[in-house]
């Protein structure tokens, strides 16, 4: 009886399928993409003092976002901790012309979203406010950027955020952890890879104790100059008026050239090693990989496509198939290309699973790494990756004025022009399976991988 019901059900599927348009996606006749990257010049405002801003209107709702990108990060400070102090002060204390309490009240009054993100090579300050508060927000933004608090109180504040326990950072296996997580595993991986490298430096309590407001001020004055900053402003604005406002708020800053781009030493090649950090959790977290050298423009596209096919984030990829789809080992197994502006970045593969299958997860991921270095990818894989990158993620970078101005501002700050984005689609489309194979062999080095496991084996 039950079998008959099943059969009837399956017949019903077949019947329905017969009436339905089930043309295969490849035969749907989907049109070619007509996407053209917007012209950055349409958004650009260049001031005489060297500051470049990108301005765009997104008028769906009465909000405005203003972002500043500064080419100065954790690896740029001469006195350890200066960047952290400045970021902390800008996040919590605001301009020197005000008080921290008044600064917080002003943000609250505007119902603002405000954040300062400090990276290794750059910093971002972003303020999002209702359009009705635009003028006050611009003034506050300008003051916070160009007249920040750099006092002993700022140093003390940053110090108080620093954990007192300085043990185990970059240490060998065995430290007991009470909170297992992916972010912790990544942090451990970077501690190991960047041990004794500027990208691995973390200010300690002793660094803050040795730091003076003058140190912070020197860092600030070196890097917070118009030629070393780009702005992105988008939202419910009149673009012409905003161009005038930018001139009004930022043109009086004295011109100063950007400091020379920093070149950090290469990371010494490590031999493959496993590092285990026990934690009593329901899952274990796995991060393995190695340094990613600075990637020349000629290799960028092939590397990106190769990683997409192998392990693009939480999508249909080779690693997903051999961990999640086939075996249910994990919810995700992905690869992360994280380049840095002044030196080596990282290329890692990450997953997590029940402890009893974490080894199998790792083995299967390594098998796919070996395969992508041994064989050419298929035509279908190449077709999918090219389409996903050119018609998907690349287009989204310019989805609206918020996204486009931000993308252009960052590109300008990092590279000094927009040639990379201009040639992106062409570079991806020109790739062959041979290019992808070459990228895999060049940029994945299994014998150098550091394997970090947090949790139970």
């Amino acid at each position: 009886m039950i079998g008959r019901i099943t059969l009837l059900f399956l017949m019903a599927i077949a019947t329905a399928a017969g009436a339905q348009n089930l043309t295969h996606p490849l035969k749907l006749g989907l049109p070619e993409s007509d996407f053209v990257r917007p012209d950055p010049l349409d958004f650009e405002v260049a001031l005489d003092n060297g500051l470049i801003a990108y301005v765009g209107r997104a008028g769906q709702v009465p909000l405005v976002t203003m972002s500043a990108f500064i080419r100065a990060g954790k690896a740029n400070d001469e006195a350890e901790g200066s960047a952290e102090v400045l970021a902390h002060a800008m996040q919590t204390m605001g301009p020197a012309s005000s008080t921290p309490a008044a600064f917080r009240d002003q943000l609250r009054g505007m119902t603002a979203e405000y954040k300062v993100d400090l990276h290794d090579d750059w910093m971002e300050v972003t303020l999002n406010v209702p359009a009705e508060d635009l003028e006050a927000a611009l003034t506050l933004f300008r003051e916070t950027l160009f007249n920040p608090v750099m006092s002993q109180a700022a140093i003390d504040g940053a110090r108080d955020k620093t954990p007192a326990d300085e043990s185990d950072l970059g240490a060998e296996s065995g430290a007991a952890l009470y909170e297992g997580s992916m972010s912790l595993a990544v942090e451990r991986f970077e501690d190991i890879l960047f041990s004794k490298h500027p990208y691995g430096r973390k200010p300690r309590l002793t660094d803050f104790a040795a730091l003076s407001p003058d140190d912070v001020s020197r860092f600030y004055e070196t890097h917070f100059v118009p030629g070393n900053i780009t702005l992105a402003i988008a939202g419910d604005i009149d673009e012409s008026t905003m161009r005038g406002s930018i001139d009004e708020h930022f043109a009086d800053l004295p011109a100063a050239e950007a400091p020379p781009a920093k070149r950090l030493p290469a990371i010494g090649a490590l031999r493959k090693k496993r590092h285990e950090f026990p934690a009593e959790k329901l899952q274990s977290w796995l991060v393995f990989g190695h340094e990613l050298p600075q990637v020349p423009l000629a290799d960028e596209a092939a590397l990106e496509v190769m990683n997409y096919i192998l392990a693009g984030g939480h999508l249909y990829t080779r690693m997903t198939v051999v961990t999640r789809y086939l075996y249910g080992y994990t919810n995700d197994a992905s690869g992360f290309l994280e380049d840095r502006w002044s030196g080596s970045g990282t290329y890692t593969f990450r997953s997590y699973s029940r402890p009893e299958v974490i080894e199998a997860t790792y083995e299967n991921m390594m098998t796919e790494i070996a395969r992508v270095r041994a064989e050419k990818v298929t035509d279908e894989e190449l077709f999918i990756a090219k389409g996903a990158l050119t018609d998907g993620t690349f287009q989204v970078r310019y989805l609206d004025a918020y996204a486009a101005t931000r993308d252009f501002a960052l590109e300008q700050l990092r590279y000094g022009d927009h040639t990379r984005s201009a040639s992106y689609i062409e570079r991806i489309r020109a790739l062959t399976a041979e290019d992808v194979l070459e990228a895999a062999r060049k940029y994945i080095q299994p014998e150098r991988m550091q394997v970090v496991l947090v949790g139970r084996e």
Partner: protein, 507 residues
């Protein structure tokens, strides 16, 4: 299918006297097809992409005890493909699925025999039916063997890879208590792909690799449980609700083992019907152009009997309930919850103003009492903050020390009572409303977030409720907040949880 109506509905908020300068325009255009399928479009000709979502009015509320998480599992299974997406030899594969179903039915019979024979039902996971028999093991092995034969006929990633190839991003899906949705953002001129795949997914899903996929659910659940606060929250949820499914988590370990193809198939057949489905498109498309396209891919579907609706009702509250939770991993906390009505009830929008206004008020009151606490007032239950059914408002107060727990609770309850006698200042309400307006604008600026809100309101109540909801929220006054406190924050409707360290007592 005959195209019936094209209803253009421009909802522009007629401003109230209080918020005359604020409007919440949502130019949603609607078309309902003969088979009941609802299409909602916001046209944005300036963009070349489109955010596309398909909402089904079903979720965890529609599960039965012992099968918690089954709706979420169904979402996972609906990524496994169809006869025309993912199979290299459907005729052969179909036979194998029949054999698997037969084996599963026999297995269920064997399991039920063992369950019925069970004499000993222990408290601490000592259920004897977790023991197995030779017959059960053989049937499981048979299913595994058949499944491996199916896998040999499959292409993996059938519901994702074509989206990826044609520029689709945000390829996600979500199942919560009241909805399941699938999401996509793709070039607008390729919308046919979304319609073709989703219509197929809605009618022809094949539940491939069932047993491996259930372990992915276990992984997701473990991800939740790794956070110490998750277990406390679940205990609070169960303290608040006695019978409502809204408070149930996404499955317990035992549940994951109980899912069957037949149970999942029943959920699928009952709820994935056109008259229980809403398509939402925001971007570079027009309603006029979309109607024939949707008709092409969904028009063959026939209206089904109205899907069964969740009928659970909480009994009337009768007494304050309390939970003492011991943990050294969590900061000391007092958490006070009250049941509140669902979206559609006129009081519900005002609770959002209440939460936004009381947060700084209670923080200040606690500070005046010498307690520097972190106050978070939210309406989250499991992963969702709004429901069409009643749920709870939660006052989560993280304390600097366990020793102040009792006093903190007293301060909060006294402050709430005081806010009835003397309404909050108008400035506090104005600030709360402005915060909520800004939050809404941030949502509406993102077409993905906006499409979600529209779909979410449709399953909770109606998409037409969304703008009036925002309107009512923006018209809330201090007296409304006082009224809500007096009406809902009564002792018998209160559930209190206190987190203290493993050892020692609060003084």
């Amino acid at each position: 299918m005959r195209i019936k109506i094209v209803a253009t509905v421009w909802l522009a908020l007629l401003a109230t006297a209080v918020s005359a300068q604020h409007t919440f325009e949502l130019p949603i255009r609607e078309h309902v097809f003969d088979n009941g399928l609802r299409l909602l479009v916001i046209e944005r000709p300036e963009t070349s992409r489109v955010v596309a979502k398909i909402f089904t009015d079903m979720g965890a509320l529609n599960e039965t005890p012992g099968q918690f998480g089954a709706a979420h599992f169904l979402e996972h299974l609906m990524f496994k493909g169809t006869p025309t997406l993912g199979s290299r030899d459907w005729e052969r594969e179909r036979q194998l699925h029949e054999e698997i179903q037969l084996a599963e039915d026999t297995l269920e019979e064997a399991l039920n025999r063992e369950r019925n024979a069970l004499q000993q039902r222990g408290v601490f996971h000592e259920y004897q039916h977790e023991l197995t028999t030779t017959e059960i093991e053989e049937l499981r092995a048979l299913i595994a063997t058949l499944n491996s034969q199916v896998l040999e006929l499959n292409d993996e990633g059938p519901m994702k890879k074509w989206y990826q190839a044609y520029g689709g991003t945000r390829l996600t899906a979500t199942t919560e208590q009241e909805y399941m949705k699938f999401d996509l953002d793709l070039p607008a001129n390729r919308i046919d792909l979304f319609l073709r795949v989703e219509a197929d997914r809605m009618q022809n899903s094949v539940f491939r690799n069932f047993d491996a996929e259930r372990m992915v659910l276990v992984e997701q659940r473990y991800g939740d449980l790794n956070r110490p606060v998750s277990s406390f929250r679940e205990a609070m949820n169960s303290l608040v609700g006695r019978s409502s499914m809204v408070y149930v988590p996404e499955g317990y370990t035992n549940d994951f083992n109980q899912y069957t193809r037949r149970y999942e198939q029943a959920l699928y057949e009952n709820y994935f019907v056109p008259n229980n489905t809403t398509l939402i498109l925001i971007g570079g498309v027009t309603l006029e152009a979309m109607i024939p396209k949707v008709d092409e891919f969904f028009g063959h579907m026939t209206r089904a009997p109205e899907p069964p609706r969740y009928q659970g009702r909480e009994p009337l509250p009768s007494a304050e309930k309390r939970l003492l939770w011991r943990s050294d991993e969590l900061p000391p906390r007092v958490e006070i919850r009250y049941q509140i009505p669902g979206v559609g009830h006129p009081d519900r929008p005002q609770f959002e103003v209440l939460a936004a206004a009381l947060q700084p008020y209670l923080t200040a009151e606690l500070e005046s009492a010498g307690i520097v606490a972190k106050v978070d007032i939210n309406t989250r239950v499991v992963h969702t903050s709004r429901f069409g059914v009643p749920a709870s408002i939660n006052f989560e107060i993280d304390l600097p020390s366990a020793s102040v727990a009792t006093r903190a609770e007293d301060v909060v309850l006294a402050a709430l009572a005081a806010a009835v006698a003397k309404p909050l200042q108008r400035e506090a309400i104005d600030m709360a409303r402005k915060q909520l307006r800004s939050d809404w604008y941030r949502t509406a600026a993102d077409p993905n977030a906006l499409a979600f809100e529209i779909g979410h309101f449709e399953v909770m109540d109606s998409w037409r409720t969304l703008v009036p909801y925002l309107q009512a929220r923006d018209a809330t006054r201090a007296a409304d907040v006082s009224r809500l406190i007096a009406k809902y924050f009564v002792p018998i409707n209160r559930s209190v949880g206190v987190i203290l360290p493993e050892t020692g007592e609060a003084s």
